[in-house]
């Protein structure tokens, strides 16, 4: 039986308008370009990339906090890319997010019960008793007790707060949870507990995960696929083992081997002036194609790679 696709993204592009000064012409900054992927039920995808690579922009589009400039986004077989409204009622109920900073993402003046019922009040028509039932079910799912619902966030440890954040993501019965560095602020003993919790929930509820994480050991353990983003472009996309064991794109190689030179975003080449490959100014083995032409995605050993090294035009040229 083929598994149902929970998220289908096709050529998602997001552009922001940057005005240089008050009267100047506004510039177009492409935060994401032509991002496509499919995520089926119970599958986990990891998004790798350094700061500013568009990971958070993609996450925002998927939860519905931002709208893609172009492209198609299907969640649970429903096309949501046409919904043009910033009202939170129209956000994607089926894709929820867990943030990195456990203290910053929970309102310090609300009790856990209030925090968890907020999405239910705003986005469902459940009665008070139904809401309460759902609340206790979800608390139990994440390993907390029902009497925790009257306590305030600061009375919990960071690990427990991350459980609460996961409970809040689960309360609307999502098909996919996006976890943005869910472990990085937790202490080591809590990290493995949260990993176990997320894996158990995945099995029990058939959830899909999108993990944004730098911790390659965790990514390797939890994720089926990896997508590597560089300045908003997908440079490599394939199975976890393939990408980690045998990276193809020079950017992935340098990301995994951790040998890049420090980048200074303010001082480097202007991206909008770059015609060719998005990585050509930092790549170690560039050829003349790289500066002039954008590489196409080609399939190499089951991984999609955008690099001239592997593209047909380059092969012909060298032959």
């Amino acid at each position: 039986m083929t598994k149902r696709a929970t998220i289908k993204a096709l050529s998602l592009t997001k552009e922001y308008l940057n005005s240089a000064n008050l009267f100047g012409k506004s510039e177009c900054f492409t935060a994401l370009e032509d991002v496509s992927f499919t995520l089926t039920q119970g599958e986990s995808l990891s998004i790798l990339g350094e700061a500013g690579s568009g990971k958070s922009t993609l996450a925002k589009i998927l939860v519905g906090a931002e709208h893609a400039t172009s492209g198609v986004l299907e969640i649970d077989d429903k096309d949501v890319s046409k919904v043009k409204s910033n009202k939170h009622q129209n956000r994607n109920r089926r894709v929820r997010m867990v943030y990195q900073n456990t203290m910053g993402s929970l309102n310090p003046s609300l009790t856990i019960g209030e925090i968890l019922s907020e999405p239910l009040i705003n986005m469902t028509k459940l009665t008070k008793s139904e809401r309460e039932e759902r609340l206790f079910n979800v608390l139990e799912l994440v390993g907390l007790k029902s009497d925790h619902s009257t306590r305030l966030p600061h009375t919990f440890s960071a690990g427990e707060r991350q459980r609460i954040a996961i409970a809040r993501a689960l309360i609307l019965d999502p098909v996919c949870i996006i976890a943005d560095e869910p472990l990085s602020v937790l202490e080591t003993s809590a990290q493995s507990q949260i990993v176990n919790l997320m894996l158990d929930l995945q099995k029990e509820l058939n959830l899909s995960y999108i993990m944004i994480s730098y911790n390659l050991d965790v990514v390797e353990h939890m994720c089926d696929k990896i997508m590597v983003l560089c300045r908003g472009r997908v440079v490599e996309y394939g199975a976890t083992q393939q990408v980690l064991r045998n990276p193809k794109h020079p950017y992935t190689k340098s990301l995994l081997s951790r040998t890049q030179s420090p980048i200074n975003r303010k001082l480097e080449t202007n991206e909008s002036e770059m015609k060719g490959c998005i990585y050509c100014d930092r790549c170690m083995d560039v050829n003349e194609h790289c500066h002039q032409q954008k590489p196409e995605q080609v399939l190499v050993d089951g991984c999609l790679v955008s690099c001239h090294q592997y593209s047909e035009t380059n092969k012909k040229a060298t032959n």
Partner: protein
């Protein structure tokens, strides 16, 4: 004579209805040129110990110790400006988030100048030379552009390099790095750690590194101290502790570290049950007791730290038994 000698350092913070003991009999001995690691959950007192050593808790907590000395000079009761100056000349500290350590309103050049002035670089020309030298030492390029920037214009990797340059301004004998890479991204983390390690070696400084990264501590440090709820629970040579932990907590943490999993994908990973108790409601006896897989009736009595010849352990039933 040890460079830094700390014996039974205690820190208590006043809270409504009493005090909270954030640090309970912390001891540390750092020889010149040695590389120390400190590991522990958040709230275990790692940072508090370092702040107490740097005399930064003077107004907020009561700090007591049997001994706290730097090169044989007592620094617990230092009072005069000159004495404090000599402490900050010999010891520098780097904090977690470089964005918060730098003043957002001043350009980098001015902030480095401020430090250099305190350390006796009086002429402008001297400071200019020293600034460029320090920034080059930490591997930065386009130094003029960086000196002319405000902190928000630079990436956190570059800011942390600037903080390291700042810490090196006085040519310290001891560098304390309090989770220097936590807020940086993966590729940047590796580079900053490599830079710090190279600097420590080339300048022959002693280093105390507070980190959550067990792999890093294992590779780099000569000695490691593991802390739990304000107490040192195991302390000794890194090779011994990482290969053959004696305290149940050290063992559990080493097993649950992602780099030690080596399991089939998506299978459940080893973890220590429960969560770290709050310092307001510590368990009776051994603080790990309720979470410890090896706990027995005797664990309701607080264990004393004892020395087994090569390391310090605070446990009634250490793994592999007592060696003494």
């Amino acid at each position: 004579m040890a460079l830094l000698q700390v014996e039974n350092l205690c820190v208590e913070f006043p809270v409504s209805g009493g005090t909270v003991k954030a640090l309970d009999n912390f001891s540390l001995r750092v020889e010149a040129g040695a590389y120390h690691g400190i590991f522990g959950d958040s709230g275990s007192g790692k940072s508090i110990a370092m702040l107490a050593i740097m005399d930064l808790l003077r107004n907020s907590a009561s700090v007591t110790a049997d001994q706290l000395s730097l090169k044989g000079n007592d620094i617990l009761t230092i009072s005069t400006k000159e004495q404090r100056q000599s402490l900050y000349q010999a010891v520098s500290i780097i904090f977690q988030e470089p964005e918060n350590s730098l003043n957002p309103c001043y350009r980098i050049a001015r902030q480095l100048d401020e430090t250099l002035k305190i350390h006796g670089y009086t002429s402008r020309k001297e400071r200019k030379l020293r600034r460029a030298e320090l920034l080059a030492d930490v591997g930065l390029q386009q130094i003029d552009a960086i000196l002319d920037s405000y902190p928000h214009q630079l990436t956190s990797g570059i800011l942390q390099r600037i903080m390291i340059a700042n810490a090196l301004a006085s040519d310290p004998m001891l560098l304390i790095a309090d989770e220097p890479t936590t807020s940086l991204d993966l590729s940047e983390q590796q580079k900053i750690m490599k830079l710090l390690n190279d600097l420590v070696k080339s300048r022959n400084m002693a280093m105390v590194l507070i980190s959550h990264d067990l792999e890093l501590l294992k590779q780099q440090t000569d000695f490691v101290t593991v802390m739990y709820c304000g107490q040192v629970i195991e302390s000794g040579p890194s090779a011994l502790i990482f290969d053959n932990p004696k305290h149940p907590y050290t063992e559990a943490i080493l097993n649950s570290a992602p780099s030690n999993w080596n399991l089939a994908p998506k299978s459940s990973v080893p973890s220590l049950a429960g969560s770290t108790p709050s310092l307001h409601h510590l368990p009776v006896g051994c603080y790990l007791g309720p979470r410890c897989p090896y706990a027995e009736a005797k664990c309701v009595q607080a264990p004393h730290a004892w020395f087994d010849g090569s390391r310090l352990v605070r446990c009634h039933f250490p793994i592999g038994g007592r060696d003494d």
